[in-house]
């Protein structure tokens, strides 16, 4: 019973922790602008993250080593360094966006300028990382993130034409007024938001932090195979609420406050309060994950002691990197850089760098010297290989599309 409860809690945490500022912005933007015509990109991204996160969790449980440790070993120090620079930069943009996102969520509840709140948020992120046990931290913010289910309630309360929504999602087309380029650009944004590299850095390092062994493979599968797809449904609910409320009003999402507007207009103050808690939890949880990921990837590349499972004195350089990353994100956020723009760029650039992260995972998950008899099966390899091709195509076309569409604006 205790085991079942632990797995159930893990699934709930996975659902609540699935959505971050990238998913919130990308799903709301595309819902308002393209309706459900890009729902397939969410589904594609969710299947991809399920396939590769399962591999990461399995590698961490069986080999006891996280992703970036193995990236350096497999790619060598120089190619590993190129990977580290790209991954760290994208992770830094995401951390900045998440910290600003938390500040905006607090600002929406207090009307204090988000710029004044950014230093407070940065301190809070560092304090939680420093003081709170890893598992508690993961559970608290993952479970609070379930407040975002209020988007699903909003869609249900609107009472849409379900057949029409499903038909649009299953028969996608480029809406009038949009070009094929912007359509593909936003598809990549959704795909990148679902498959953000920090998710696997954190997931695999977290597995090591929690001392996973082969006995935890069932928990890994449950979290990934049940939790992530349900998190994907949450993303689709955000998209549908924007499609139903913001799209018809002619609203183009450029602020986090607009993401919450469908909930407020349909469910009122209670719904608004719940969604603001959800926005806070989702962005705060992701800020913790990205700040830790900054420490994880650098420490794992450099071969330093890392993680919260060892005493801070033993992993001082890891904690220093985390602290400096939070400080740098705070300073970047205070320059009045547009948090939503930073989010957009971080998820699109994530898409451009995806093969750097996912290719080594696929190689290692097939290596019996690491995995023993727990290597990938044929079916999984077939899907993962198809995804690798998709990832390479996406990485090639992302930057040209970013330029052609002027960041999706036209």
């Amino acid at each position: 019973m205790k085991r079942f409860f632990a797995v159930f809690l893990g699934i709930l945490t996975a659902i609540g922790g699935f959505v971050d500022i990238g998913d919130l912005v990308a799903n709301s933007q595309t819902g308002a602008r393209f309706g459900m015509n890009l729902a397939w990109a969410v589904v594609l991204g969710v299947i991809g993250i399920v396939v590769y996160a399962e591999m990461c969790g399995r590698v961490a449980a069986v080999a006891g080593r996280p992703v970036f440790d193995l990236v350096r070993e497999r790619l060598g120090p120089r190619a590993g360094l190129a990977n580290l620079i790209a991954s760290f930069f994208i992770n830094f943009l995401t951390l900045t966006a998440e910290v600003a996102g938390v500040a905006i969520a607090l600002s929406l509840a207090s009307s204090v300028s988000y710029l004044l709140l950014i230093p407070f948020v940065a301190f809070l992120v560092w304090l939680v990382i420093w003081r709170m046990p890893f598992e508690t931290m993961e559970r608290v913010f993952g479970l609070l993130g379930l407040c975002l289910l209020v988007f699903a309630v909003t869609v249900w309360k609107v009472g849409p034409d379900w057949g029409g929504l499903f038909h649009t999602a299953s028969h996608p087309q480029v809406p009038a007024g949009e070009t094929g380029f912007t359509y593909v650009y936003f598809a990549i944004a959704l795909f990148g938001a679902a498959m953000t590299p920090y998710e696997v850095f954190f997931f695999s390092s977290g597995a090591v932090e929690e001392h996973w062994t082969e006995r935890d493979l069932a928990t890994n599968r449950a979290n990934v195979l049940i939790g992530f797809p349900l998190g994907g449904l949450l993303s689709l609910a955000i998209m549908a609420s924007a499609d139903l409320i913001l799209g018809p009003a002619g609203i183009d999402v450029g602020q986090l406050s607009q993401v919450a507007l469908p909930v407020a207009s349909v469910l009122g103050r209670v719904g608004l309060a719940v969604v603001l808690v959800g926005l806070f939890a989702a962005t705060f949880g992701a800020a913790l994950e990205t700040a830790l990921s900054a420490g994880y990837i650098i420490s794992q590349y450099m071969g330093w002691m890392w993680g919260k499972y060892v005493r801070p004195r033993q992993a001082s350089r890891f904690h220093l990197v985390v602290l400096l990353s939070i400080g740098a994100a705070m300073i970047f956020g205070l320059t009045r850089v547009d948090p939503v723009k930073v989010t957009e760029y971080s998820i699109v650039l994530s898409a451009a760098a995806l093969p750097l992260t996912y290719f080594p995972i696929l190689v290692i998950a097939n290596d019996p010297s690491y995995m023993g008899d727990k290597t990938n099966g044929r079916f999984l390899n077939a899907i993962a290989s198809i995804y690798l091709v998709i990832l390479i195509v996406v990485s090639i076309i992302t930057i040209p599309l970013l330029i052609i569409t002027k960041g999706g604006s036209g």
Partner: protein
């Protein structure tokens, strides 16, 4: 690609992208009327979204469905965004006399919309949420003017 070249490429991409991400509203020159008209339509489209957002926020707050802080911040963000659009459009050099007329036409609509959004923000800050629908009513004319502008020039 050799590892050192890969590192340099990664650094170059990171640098270019960090610069790009800092630029929220890139303004290019408009050397012909049609380019200027295209920029005017882009500005008007952005303004349509801001006006529509404030209208929805105002009606939501007036119906007792939104808190004061959320309403104030949401309206202020749109006011700031629309002011930026207005400023950006005003900074583009009109290439000829036809473009001057276009500039005057859209400039007047944007100024009116910014003023009306400011009135909504002031009322929201004073806590007059119940009255926000009435205060936001002039935005309907702004929205109609923007729709007509985009339809004519889009």
């Amino acid at each position: 690609m050799r590892p050192r070249a890969m590192t340099k490429a990664a650094l170059a991409v990171c640098g270019a992208c960090s610069l790009a991400s800092c630029v929220a509203h890139p303004v290019g020159p408009a050397r012909t009327y049609s380019t200027y008209e295209g920029k005017a339509v882009t500005s008007a489209t952005a303004a349509q979204s801001s006006v529509a957002t404030v209208q929805l926020v105002a009606s939501t707050a007036a119906a007792g469905k939104a808190f004061g802080p959320y309403t104030v911040v949401s309206v202020s963000e749109q006011e700031e965004g629309l002011s930026a659009v207005e400023g950006t459009f005003a900074s583009i050099q009109p290439p000829d006399r036809r473009a001057d007329a276009l500039r005057d036409e859209l400039g007047a609509i944007l100024t009116s919309a910014v003023d009306h959004i400011a009135e909504v923000r002031i009322a929201a800050r004073r806590g007059d949420l119940d009255d926000l629908d009435r205060v936001a009513a002039p935005l309907r004319a702004d929205a109609a003017a923007l729709d007509a502008f985009v339809a004519r020039h889009g």
